[in-house]
Amino acid sequence: MLDKALETVQSLKYGDDIEPLKAIDDAIVATHGNSDGRKQLETQMLEVLQSDATRNGKDYICRKLRLIGSEESVPALASLLSDKELSHMARYALESMPSDAAGAALREALPKVDGELKEGVISSLGVRQDDRSVPALAALVSGEDAAIAKSASEALGAIRTTNAAKALVNARPNAAAAASVTDSLLACAESLLAAGDKATALTIYQKVSSGEPPKYVKLAATRGMLACAAN
């Protein structure tokens, strides 16, 4: 059944019957807690991913590697990050992988991809709260590409570490990313406040409150400053 499913996936086209593919889901459930079984299943999936399988077939494999992929899968997935058709699905698998290697693959891909693919990689680094990517993201916030700057600032807001907060405070953001930087600063301040770092949070709220932000942003910063002042 599994062999038949993997064979079907290899040539999968939109419109094909996908009933045989349920054997893959069954195999994932059946190998829970069975490291040898999982490794064998992953290896079989990687063979499909690295073959001349259809785009749809590789898409399907990435969906399943999201659930069981280990470090073994990272190189094959990383090689797809620059593929316009499959970059997203490679991230689909990599983004939720607990392995450090997945984060490293995304960081390494960051300078090698452009445009929307770069925005995608940035997004995944943010979701992973990848603190090691903060320096690279900080540089992008101040870059000339407005879309990349906005994406990088949002990722820093998702990472929400002290390093991310410092990067946002020190950024000279592209004007088009200014609102995103503000939102991310507020997100960082909330995390810092929750962690007990009132001093840094207060500095951020004061920065956001300065100038002439929209009324609802000013109010958000003011509420933050009051929270910092509370015991």
Binding site: L12, K13, Y14, G15, D16, I18, L21, D25, V29, H32, N56, D59, Y60, R63, R66, L67, I68, E85, S87, H88, M89, R91, Y92, L94, E95, S96, M97, P98, G115, E116, L117, E119, G120, I122, S123, S124, G126, V127, D145, A146, A147, K150, S151, E154, A155, A158, A176, A179, D183, L186, A187, E190, P214, K215, Y216, V217, L219, A220, R223
Partner: protein, 405 residues
């Protein structure tokens, strides 16, 4: 990729110009006994105005305290029909229509929006609306993944926005169950059963010729790329194929679509709306597979428990309790009126986003338990399955570039 792609970078170039464009709020600015003056009306726009959105739009449009000024949909015919309806209602031509929701959100004159797109868009749109200072009424199910919920709540709280979920049934459909629970007639509430389904499935529909009037790339948005197929994006209410509600990239199927109502009603009835389950027990009995959601206060919700009807409650009827006042809508006009009243007063609505997130997450936790076919622990504080790396992979899904959360 579609030919009419509306990318983030294209939007950034045009957003400033769009925001600066002049808009006419109303041509009937003076109020009367039945209608507040224009300056006192809530200025609204709608995003996603197909089936459910059309109904929501009608409800807001018919309110005298709302001035409906903008409609957004990725289908040209849908948004043009909306403009015709809105302009006809006000007897003017003021309504502006948009393909891209970001252009609508960039308008400074809009106070609030309603969102009724397919579910995979909800979180991005609600959060972007909050960042733009708008209050939001979002159709149910409000989330597509577990990670989205807290981010939506964060955005609402950060900017002190009124964000209401969109299940009118939670309060209105289950009173025969809710009232005896809250009135104390059933004694100590132990559990309630919800029967709902099915789960959504992977979609592998074939490619069809793409109509000229749909921005397919924007319809897909953060979901994985797929070729156009009319059934893939059909907004009918079926959950067993032939509608976006059937497919896993856009919906949790009946488990979330009707689950938002039923689990919403169940969490309301047994008064656990402010809590999240701490454990989901997967049962594989001879009578079938079913789930038990255990809450920190000892109450339970079961899902598809054999022999139980939908909304069956177990209590201790012989041990009556003191009645508790039953929460209800504010203002007039059902859940829409509740939202508008809260926009005015800045109170939290009946289906405040945090309560909505708590109820829809029951569906999501259930889907994950059925997928993994095992019991799961849930850490509400950390928003994760403690020590369960495999289950934690289900918390979210990577969004297709350039969409981000």
């Amino acid at each position: 990729m579609g030919t009419n792609r509306s990318s983030r970078r294209t939007f950034l170039k045009t957003a400033t110009a769009a925001a600066a464009a002049p808009y006419v709020i109303t041509s009937a600015a003076l109020g009367n006994e039945d209608r507040p003056a224009a300056s006192d009306r809530i200025v609204m726009g709608g995003i996603g105005i197909g089936n459910m959105g059309r109904g929501d739009q009608g409800a807001f449009l018919n309110r005298g305290d709302v001035q409906y000024v903008a409609a957004c949909d990725v289908r040209k015919g849908v948004r043009e029909a909306a403009k015709g309806k809105i302009d006809g209602h006000y007897k003017n031509s003021d309504c502006q229509i948009y393909n891209d929701f970001r252009e609508l959100l960039a308008r400074d004159d809009i106070d609030a929006v309603h969102v009724a797109t397919p579910d995979h868009w909800h979180a991005i749109m609600v959060i972007e609306a909050c960042r733009a200072g708008k209050d939001v009424y979002c159709q149910k199910p409000e989330t597509r993944t577990l990670r989205e919920g807290p981010l939506m709540v964060d955005a609402a709280r950060r900017y002190a926005r009124v964000v209401s979920g969109g299940s009118q049934r939670v309060l209105e459909d289950y009173r025969k169950v809710v009232d005896p629970c809250w009135n104390g007639e059933l004694g100590e509430i132990k559990s309630i059963n919800v029967n709902v389904g099915p789960l959504s499935q992977h979609c592998n529909l074939p490619k069809e010729d793409q109509p000229a009037d749909i921005d397919w790339d924007l319809w897909l948005g953060p979901a994985p790329w797929a070729p156009y197929n009319s059934k893939r994006c059909d907004g009918n209410f079926g959950t067993s194929g032939g509608s976006w509600r059937s497919y896993v990239d856009y919906s949790g199927g009946g488990m979330t679509d009707w689950g938002a109502h039923h689990f919403g009603g169940a969490t309301f009835a047994i008064d656990v709306r402010e809590l999240q389950p701490e454990e989901v027990i997967y049962h594989d009995s001879s009578d079938g597979k079913y789930l038990t959601f255990k809450y920190p206060n000892g109450r339970q919700i079961t899902h598809n428990r054999p022999g139980k009807e939908n909304m069956d409650v177990e209590g201790t009827p012989g041990e009556k309790r003191e009645p508790k006042p039953i929460p209800t809508y504010k203002g007039t006009g059902g859940i829409y009126g509740d939202f508008i009243e809260c926009v005015k007063t800045r109170e939290r609505p009946f289906r405040d986003i945090e309560l909505a997130v708590n109820s829809v997450m029951v569906s999501h936790l259930g889907i994950i338990a059925y997928a993994t076919q095992r019991s799961l622990q849930w850490d509400a504080a950390k928003q994760e399955f403690p020590g369960d790396e495999e289950a934690n992979r289900y918390l979210d899904r990577a969004r297709r570039e350039p969409w981000q959360l």
